[in-house]
Subunit: 239 residues, 4 copies
Amino acid sequence: MARVTVWNEYRHERESEVVAEVYPDGIHAVVADALREGGHEVRTAILDEGPEHGLTEAVLDDTDVLVWWGHAAHDEVRDAVVDRVHERVLNGTGLIVLHSAHYSKIFKRLMGTSCSLKWREAAERERLWTIEPSHPIADGIGERIELDEAEMYGERFDVPAPDTLVFTSWFEGGEVFRSGCCYRRGRGKLFYFRPGHETYPIYHREDVQWILDNAVRWATPTEGAAAYGGNRPVDPPES
Amino acid sequence: MARVTVWNEYRHERESEVVAEVYPDGIHAVVADALREGGHEVRTAILDEGPEHGLTEAVLDDTDVLVWWGHAAHDEVRDAVVDRVHERVLNGTGLIVLHSAHYSKIFKRLMGTSCSLKWREAAERERLWTIEPSHPIADGIGERIELDEAEMYGERFDVPAPDTLVFTSWFEGGEVFRSGCCYRRGRGKLFYFRPGHETYPIYHREDVQWILDNAVRWATPTEGAAAYGGNRPVDPPES
Amino acid sequence: MARVTVWNEYRHERESEVVAEVYPDGIHAVVADALREGGHEVRTAILDEGPEHGLTEAVLDDTDVLVWWGHAAHDEVRDAVVDRVHERVLNGTGLIVLHSAHYSKIFKRLMGTSCSLKWREAAERERLWTIEPSHPIADGIGERIELDEAEMYGERFDVPAPDTLVFTSWFEGGEVFRSGCCYRRGRGKLFYFRPGHETYPIYHREDVQWILDNAVRWATPTEGAAAYGGNRPVDPPES
Amino acid sequence: MARVTVWNEYRHERESEVVAEVYPDGIHAVVADALREGGHEVRTAILDEGPEHGLTEAVLDDTDVLVWWGHAAHDEVRDAVVDRVHERVLNGTGLIVLHSAHYSKIFKRLMGTSCSLKWREAAERERLWTIEPSHPIADGIGERIELDEAEMYGERFDVPAPDTLVFTSWFEGGEVFRSGCCYRRGRGKLFYFRPGHETYPIYHREDVQWILDNAVRWATPTEGAAAYGGNRPVDPPES
């Protein structure tokens, strides 16, 4: 069981009727409910929740894993909050980055690259193939999951080569994409998961929720990743 | 410029009229000609060239990079020759493993895994997407190459995660595959390249030949990978 | 809790009084006791336990993680048993390889390289530094552990680059060594752990036992790594 | 042959007599001379060379590989210049980061982590062991190089796991450090090389110069890493 904070930009859902039909209470509500069913202790936070976007030090003190969804308002996330989240991840807080959050400030900060990709909105078929069947995030998933209608994301995805590539997507229109990417940054674990989008009910799917639950468990910091490290002068070890 | 030996099982071409039409002098002849045009010094060897399959110590002494194609007769390659090639690769000789040679003794030996995969012969469209555009093997290739008719290979490809994943294939029928995989084993460099098959004229393609040429250059041992190492007792470095 | 089988060559302990003083009931007994205290269900097996070295199909059916120690009699392990263990690991059984077992048949088989290294027996000081503090195998360990007297193993260690490098050793005499190396092979997880040796009481140490317990937990197969895969023809996914 | 720009903070050399004795014309002058002898076309640039620190667009247009040394004035490098260099690296320009530049803005930006480490100034012995003897940066180096007097850098070095670990250092006082780390970021190649320091004549050494020359060759962009990519919508590939 992890203490999870699901963060959502939460703009599309309030501005578009099409999106509101799919996620009437916001994407965060659906993801949070799914993780609660998995036994986690879950809170949510949104962009418009005050100047800290709901991510106060107190909230982060109480967060093992942060789930992040954003799309249209990445730039409105204040740098001070990005700094704070960045520091937390380097100190062990897990981070699950969803779909269009590939372009969030926090993901780009942690990757050090442009995080650009190709895309197409054509409600096309996507198949996520399991590349590492024994990875905990693939636990229980089988050889693939299939989404009838998805936005396409295509390579070249400009990220560092993942420490572990768990899923790769196939798209009806002819592209492939590294859809499930694990990274270790500092003492934190980070998982980028491609499926999503505000106009498709993808986070309502049981298999997608299962993967998110696996990812939260995987990203939960171990107790022993105690705070040491830091830039500091040292004497020789006593011998 | 590298000294290259292109090894071919060379059975399909002599036994099947269909294959002979595509590769009248054998797959090895087409690959060797292409590499010669790239400026390399190329010889060929085949399974039925004596008890050492043409891979004598003298031939291997004169080989920087070995290209390997096999399919129907993997088991006829003698273990002593596999041992010899294995030792050469660990000591620096480059190895390019083509298509169905994923199931060759030498590739399985170097991977340590089953190297199994899924396949389908349906003359379907394949697109190889460049995942690492700055890798030397992708040099000059652009974002993808496209093969009109190919045999499908699908994940789960049971190999260790490649040191660098250069290409990933998309198949019309719905699968993906890690099609260009780099490995370092001992002091040798190894590249697995998926495209091929005896009934499609894939090795006649200019873009495929270009990739093979890039791969040979990449796999050529550096002069400085001097022979040290080995299991041996040592005194402390003189201080 | 995992079902663990600790396998030991168990020759030094019976042939050398010096070794017998350190490990009167064998290295396997000490390691097994330590893992039992961690809550695991542990059995042991030895080289001289019949033609299958105690590793029958029934024993392996009941094993989640296999711990392997060998040194002087690697060659006496029958190939049929190595084949069997190899297949098990590829299908998910965890494997912990200790110290001089770097030269065991099963480790060399899984690595595909020579696994050679340099060594020196000079009872010198070793420090294992934690390279990845947030890795589960480093959980609770802190920045280093220190062994007063150890056999030296030095680079170049001829193995594939580990998927994750958890520990690196420093030796008084001037060498370094990648001492804690994680690999995924097939659906199995493998951890090579350097410390050990038959003449030093290293497996009696609490910190070393803690790491072994962490490693067993990490290597335990997930339930969901269901048996799929294999080399097989397929039809296109139904669309 | 590459077009190289050696960038230096160039403060210590002008402010400290001790440093000026080791590097009277600056560290950049010594490194530049060494690379010129290797046949490269080399220019230098320094922090105090105008508001762009000598790294104008014109200079970068004419640069294949940028070498970076900084220590005391990382914060004085303007963010606009860091942005510019960052974009260049992601588009293919090679980057060699030396010693205390582990804490430069550009390195931290590309790594996404704190890049912190431990250090000690005790003029102690350092041995760099070659971990990957067949890597082009280790070409001609042999199993180790030895520095009589060096500043110690010790793990935990808070960087992402390198794509390839080429060298690991041993220090007399008891620490280890990943001293030669290769990364691919975007289309650029990056090499972090630990040895250095302003008060030791390390960049005057022939073996260190040899490694820098190897690193420049390795980091030089391939011609074919043509500018594609970018975040952009696409139509399906024509079929």
